[in-house]
Amino acid sequence: MNRFVMQIIRFFALLLAQVLVINYIRLGGYVHPYIYLIFVMLLPISTPNWLLLLLGFGSGLAIDLFMGTLGMHAGATTLMAFCRPGIIRLVSGGMKFENAKEPNIEQMGFPWFFRYTLCMVMVHNFTLFMLEGFTFKLIGQALLRILLSVPSSMFLILLIVYLFSPTKKKAKFQ
């Protein structure tokens, strides 16, 4: 129950942070970091696949409602949720994380989480900017946006996940 409430709070906190703070970042119009992906990224590993898709679709749709781009973010986030089980298998190689309930830095280690973030952000941004470019016939611009937005999204996501990591690290200092 507690974890359930936690997920809901995380969803709304990320949504508000995205539309009220991050969306105002305007560096030349090409840098668009998206931190709301953290919600889908940090869902428990045992989440059923169908729920994963619906939650991805829902979180993208919520952002769409705020940005007036109905369908674009929902499409990109749904694809990202679809790829998530595969990406987790891919970046884990043969490693098994039996006691890890959700993807995190403490148990999986930073290199694992970095690769995981990279794949997820790449899938999302590529789909999103291609959808935008497809609509407006500006493929060159879309590619430039991808090139600049992926690192900024990754940086913010890793920073936020690191800052909000629970207990393990603090325990070391005690």
Binding site: L16, V19, L20, N23, R26, G29, Y30, H32, N49, W50, L53, L54, F57, G60, D64, L65, F66, M67, G68, T69, L70, G71, M72, A74, G75, T78, L79, F82, L131, E132, T135, F136, L138, Q141
Partner: protein
């Protein structure tokens, strides 16, 4: 039937994924429809309220700049009052019968400049007398046209929109032209129907023409940046710098034409050629 159900059960992940993606693409095509412009009603009050709360918090950090803008506008208005009283003293105030425009002030609660189609959300809606197709201006120049209205908020299609075309006039020689956005930079627009005999200088002023009843005549639009001479000798183009800084909009005015209903019926009953 059983086999079908088994198939769906077995591949539910892929099927659900495809269904959701098709839904997304349908929503996208639906919102991109040129003729209806059936953009999702982002102007609903919940979204508006969230943005307004956010902007209320953000405003505390910008009070100084906003004060400066308001002071500058005050100065401009004072200057205009002086001119008006001046013309009133002369007996031939020909614009007297022309005061058919009302201004509704509003605050910008959210806006974008870096998307292919940009909108501005403002905190006045149908309860305050805002209607679709009203012109929107800032102290510096024109901003856009109201595209959707909810009870307390309205969404404005900014000049930075791929469908935006404004009828303008060169102040120096009275030539009429159409201004559109150049779609990549929020500072510049393009005019692409300039007759070749026309000479333009950098810094020439562009104002609204009298051919639209959305905007009053002679409102500032922008200045000429450069004239792009057509190699084929047909119509020249010009790059225009907007007078409005769309990235720092804070207060805008909506313009209501008090005779709009009358004009609409007149245009509707005009014989089609």
């Amino acid at each position: 039937m059983y086999n079908l159900l088994r198939f769906i059960h077995k591949h539910h992940f892929v099927i659900l994924f495809l269904v959701l993606e098709v839904l997304c693409v349908l929503m996208m095509t639906w919102t991109m429809d040129f003729h209806h412009q059936k953009r999702v009603n982002v102007t609903n009050d919940v979204v508006g309220r969230v943005y307004e709360t956010g902007s209320n918090i953000g405003d505390y950090f910008r009070l100084r700049k906003i004060n400066e803008q308001l002071a500058a506008e005050n100065a401009l208005l004072r200057q205009q009052v002086a001119v008006v009283t001046d013309t009133a003293q002369c007996q031939y105030d020909y614009r007297n019968a022309d005061t058919v425009y009302e201004f509704i002030p509003a605050r910008v609660v959210n806006s974008t400049v870096n998307r292919p189609n940009n909108y501005i959300l403002i905190n006045k809606g149908s309860h305050d007398g805002v209607e679709k197709d009203m012109g929107v201006v800032s102290p510096d120049g024109i901003v856009g046209i109201v595209s959707e209205v909810s009870p307390h908020y309205a969404s404005v299609m900014s000049l930075l929109h791929s469908f935006s075309t404004i009828s303008v006039r060169f102040k120096s020689n009275g030539q009429l032209a159409n201004l559109r956005w150049e779609t990549s930079n929020y500072r510049y627009g393009i005019i692409d129907d300039i007759p070749t005999h026309l000479t333009l200088n950098e810094g020439d002023t562009i104002v609204t023409s009298s051919y639209s009843y959305i905007f009053p005549e002679n409102l500032m639009v922008g200045t000429v940046m450069e004239l792009i001479v057509s190699p084929s000798g047909t119509l020249n183009k010009a790059k225009i710098r907007y007078a409005t800084d769309f990235s720092s909009l804070k207060y805008v005015y909506m313009i209501r034409h008090t005779d709009k209903a009358e004009l609409d019926t007149l245009i509707k009953h005009q014989p089609k050629l």
